[in-house]
């Protein structure tokens, strides 16, 4: 008898919940999520990765190793328009060399994800998936992600001002648990509106002229809090309202819809896309200036080429708009103290500027 097939995937913030939901609904395979990212994950990942690869690769590889150790034997990886596009091949090779046995599937083959390629890959994983079910649950999952991102936007705006400690995160956890139990569109939407109302009822103490900071930059460090040393949490503890653009909804459909509009908005600075989210971040910098934000934090993994290309342009945009901006590069070796010191100084600077 063939051993049971167990499917798993790397972490990205809270998105393991919708991914797990989708896989559970579609396939007959047992789904397990990778163990939560800890220092051990990144140690394992760095140990077997090329030293100069960008840090998300190391986190993903660490996730894969830990989940393989837990018994997974079918792995999924996405891909993207930068070095991310090579992750799957290289990681598969590294893991095979380490002596693990598994099947490996890549969702995004050529630069972007299309419904067709997604369908074909899923069919390869489990040929018994029905087309109807796939369409039904894929859109349901996309909707769930959309709802999660909407709530996250609300949380980022307000969490720095909560009067009861952890009230936002506790409610979020409850909401995510409830999402996994939903059966269809109606039950999901009902849950969303129920929790949206409850989030609005949470008590906050938010001054009108609070500091507002936008986070822009590379997608993985934006979305996986561990990889940015919990930057957003740190900002919230300083009573700052946070705006972040990158989330999975954005990457899935908003990005391509907005491309032309965004390019027109920044035509003075940039005339074509520069790979991954580079152009988007230039747009965001300008947008944040025009919206009257107090500061911008640009984050990226060390050596992230699209962002390195975008930084000089962003710098020019910020000089023209007199916008304070700091840049952080994250790697597995980054000193946490250095980040904290600069972040504190950034906060002081914004505070004094605001008067």
């Amino acid at each position: 008898m063939k051993p049971e097939r167990i499917i798993s995937f790397p972490h990205l913030g809270d998105y393991y919940i919708p991914i797990k939901f989708l896989l559970n609904k579609l396939t007959k395979l047992k789904v397990i999520e990778s163990p939560p990212i800890t220092k051990k994950t990144i140690e394992l990942g760095s140990k077997y990765s090329p030293d100069f690869v960008c840090v998300p690769f190391k986190y993903n590889l660490g996730n894969f190793i830990e989940t393989l150790e837990n018994g997974a034997n079918v792995l999924i990886q996405a891909g993207g328009g930068c070095r991310y596009g090579y992750y799957s091949e290289v990681q598969e090779k590294i893991l095979k060399d380490l002596g693990y046995h598994f099947e490996f599937y890549t969702l995004v083959n050529s630069n972007r994800i299309t419904p067709r390629s997604f369908y074909q890959t899923l069919k390869k994983i489990d040929p018994k998936i029905s087309t109807f079910k796939m369409i039904y649950y894929s859109f349901l999952t996309i909707l769930m992600i959309r709802y999660m991102d909407n709530i996250d936007d609300f949380i980022r705006k307000n969490i720095g001002f909560e009067t009861k400690k952890n009230s936002f995160l506790d409610l979020k956890k409850e909401m995510l648990d409830s999402y996994t139990k939903c059966k269809g569109y109606l039950s999901l939407t009902k849950r969303y509106f129920y929790y949206k109302k409850r989030f609005k009822q949470l008590e906050i103490n938010k001054p009108k002229d609070c500091l507002k900071v936008g986070i822009i930059g590379e997608l993985y460090t934006s979305m996986e809090p561990f990889s940015s040393y919990f930057l957003e949490k740190e900002l919230a503890s300083m009573n700052i309202e946070i705006k972040r653009f990158t989330n999975v909804s954005y990457l899935l459909y908003q990005k391509s819809l907005q491309r032309r509009k965004n390019l027109r908005y920044i035509e003075k600075y940039c005339k074509y896309t520069i790979g991954a989210d580079g152009m988007d971040n230039i747009y965001r910098a300008k947008y944040l200036i025009d919206q009257g934000y107090d500061g911008i934090i640009h984050i990226k993994p060390f050596g992230c080429t699209p962002e390195i290309g975008a930084i000089p342009i962003i710098r020019k945009v910020c000089q023209d708009g007199k916008m304070p901006i700091i840049y952080f590069s994250f790697d597995s070796q980054t000193s946490e103290t250095g980040i904290k010191t600069r972040l504190e100084a950034f906060y002081d600077m914004l505070q004094i500027r605001k008067g």
């Binding site: 800890t38 220092k39 051990k40 919990f230 010191t341 504190e344 100084a345 600077m349 004094i352």
Partner: protein
């Protein structure tokens, strides 16, 4: 009379000042940290204590800055614990209200602070690379067999500074060894080193920043007159080095302690208490956070380093 204490604990040196209500420096001290910030602060307290009249002066605010600010802040029960960038800006602005640019090169890091109308508008800090910091200069000084204090004077005697690769400490060092073996004069090499510190600083920390006069240069390396001269040649205007330049961080944080609405009761006898730190590894999850526990007279007063509430030793 009320007074405020500011302590700046860097990797190499520890600085302390006591100021009064009108921002005059009543006492100051500058000593080496020697890898033991707690001991250094105790010595510092004894030095400061001797300079003031304890019956008349009451210290009601304590501020700490520098890389050991948290540890020493806990030890001294400080009401303000501030990062060194803000502290330096505040300190410098109190003496030079119209300064536009602050260069700071310390033992382990270097920073640049840009100021417009008395407000910090931009800054950068170099924490990755040791080239162009005090530690680099002093290790090269010992390689050349010169006291680092004499470095500046020797550099000024050079008429033809040697070019030294400035990109990175390792390259600079091998380039320096090479130049020595080629037979270059020692003073030319030393002047070249000072130049390389400056070009490294301007290319790394000062990259993309608009440097405007008046410029103040501070930190341990500012005492090196050779580096000061190299800076002036490079930026093309006068670079001011204040005689109290090394105290700016401590002064700044003392001023911040003065401004703070929270007051603290500080006694010099704290220097005689028995402080201990202990690093323990938390095994409650696979993060294995290293938690630092600070105890005073065998009693735990603070602990930090945990990422989650599992390692929260204080609330248990």
């Amino acid at each position: 009379m009320n007074a405020y204490l500011g302590v700046d604990i860097g990797s190499i040196s520890t600085k302390g000042v006591i100021i009064d209500d009108s921002n005059h420096i009543l006492a100051s001290s500058y000593i080496w940290t020697q890898g033991n910030p707690m001991k250094a602060v105790k010595t510092l307290m004894h030095n400061l204590e001797k300079q003031i009249d304890k019956k008349k002066i009451h210290i009601i605010g304590v501020g700490t800055t520098g890389s050991a600010r948290k540890l020493i802040g806990t030890m001294l029960n400080a009401n303000v614990i501030k990062n060194e960038i803000t502290a330096h800006a505040v300190g410098t602005l109190s003496l030079y209200p119209n300064v536009k640019t602050i260069f700071e090169i310390g033992g382990q890091d270097s920073k640049i602070i840009l100021i417009e109308d008395g407000i910090v508008v931009d800054y950068a800090m170099n924490t990755l690379c040791a080239a162009g910091t005090g530690a680099f200069l002093s290790s090269q000084a010992s390689r050349l067999g010169v006291d680092v204090e004499d470095f500046g004077k020797i550099a000024l005697t050079s008429k033809n500074p040697t070019k030294i690769a400035a990109r990175c400490t390792v390259f600079a060092e091998s380039d320096l060894v090479h130049k020595v073996q080629m037979g270059y004069q020692k003073e030319d090499i030393i002047a070249g080193l000072c130049k390389s510190v400056v070009s490294n600083y301007l290319n790394n920390v000062g990259k993309g920043k608009k440097i405007k006069a008046p410029i103040i240069f501070q930190g341990g390396v500012s005492k090196n007159i050779g580096v000061k001269k190299a800076f002036e040649e490079e930026v093309g205007c006068e670079v001011i080095v204040d005689e109290n330049g090394h105290l700016m961080g401590a002064l700044g944080v003392a001023l911040l302690a003065k401004k703070s609405p929270i007051k603290t009761n500080f006694q010099f006898s704290i220097a005689d208490d028995n402080f201990e730190t202990k690093g323990i590894e938390c095994h409650k999850c696979s993060n294995h956070c290293e938690i630092i526990c600070v105890s005073r007279n065998k009693q735990l007063i603070d602990a930090w380093g945990n990422r989650c509430s599992n390692g929260d030793l204080m609330n248990r």
